[in-house]
């Protein structure tokens, strides 16, 4: 097994953990954080390929991750704001009960 494969396996395991959390938990914050985990797993892949993959432009992998981190930050901010807004309306952030769009 070469190091690239190891890194990829690590990232897929991390992705699986995030997926399991997003599916199993009902607390909205945890679901959102599970999604964050999956995003991070993807970023791991970029870096792994940048490090061990066939040489392309030397900064491409890094560029990908930088943009991905920025977008992830935006996603987290909006997601958490949404959660707070939902909580304001329903006093609860269990996802099963947050199935109405109108408060």
């Amino acid at each position: 097994m070469n190091p690239l494969q190891l890194c990829l396996i690590l990232s897929s395991l991390l992705f699986a953990v995030g997926l399991a959390a997003a599916l199993a938990r009902t607390h909205a914050i945890l679901v959102l954080l599970g999604v964050e985990l999956m995003l991070n797993a993807a970023n791991l892949n970029f870096i792994a390929f940048w490090r061990y993959g066939p040489p392309a432009s030397p900064a491409d992998g890094i560029m990908f991750v930088v943009f991905s981190i920025a977008v992830a930050a935006a996603e987290a901010a909006v997601g958490l704001a949404l959660i707070i807004a939902v909580y304001r309306h329903q006093k609860n952030i269990r996802l099963q009960e947050a199935n109405r769009l109108k408060g």
Binding site: N2, P3, Q5, C7, L8, I9, L10, S12, L13, L14, A16, V17, G18, L19, A20, A21, L23, A24, R25, T26, H27, I29, L30, L32, L33, G34, E36, L37, N40, N43, I47, A48, W50, R51, P54, S57, P58, A59, G61, I62, M63, V65, V66, F67, I69, A70, V71, A72, A73, A74, A76, A77, V78, L80, A81, L82, I83, I84, A85, Y87
Partner: protein, 166 residues
Amino acid sequence: MIAFAVIALLILASASLAMCLRNLVHSVLLLVANWAGIAVFYLWAGAEFVAFAQLLVYVGAVSMLSLFAVLLTRRSFHDLDIIPESVSRATWALLTAGAVAGVLIGTILGSPFGNVTEAAPAVSMRQLGEELAGTHVAGLLVVGIILTVALLGGVVIASKDKEDKS
């Protein structure tokens, strides 16, 4: 390789623990540890800039956001313990995740990767900056706009709507 093993253990253990715990604050803090672990992984892989960006954004900012969300959506100190999830739901989730992981790992192991480059690609800060402000300047602008919109959107969504104060 030992370093990789330690980092991988840190990442996976903190992630799975975070996702299993009942106490939300602990979950978030463990996730922060996980993010820090990922940053260490980047460092290990030689991507300094990404590692520090990861630390700054995730450990510095996203963690704060999550903690704020946790604090703002609770009723008391003891309100944090989440009700246990239903067993069937958890089972299905684990099965799905396991299946996905299996497929992914199977693919990874089955694919021929050939020879990996051993030497880490050398990227200087200056190079990165030029790339960011040159080749990828469109992306940079778009990200800037997305972040601004997200900031405004976050503020608008989370701010109290005054007229709704019944």
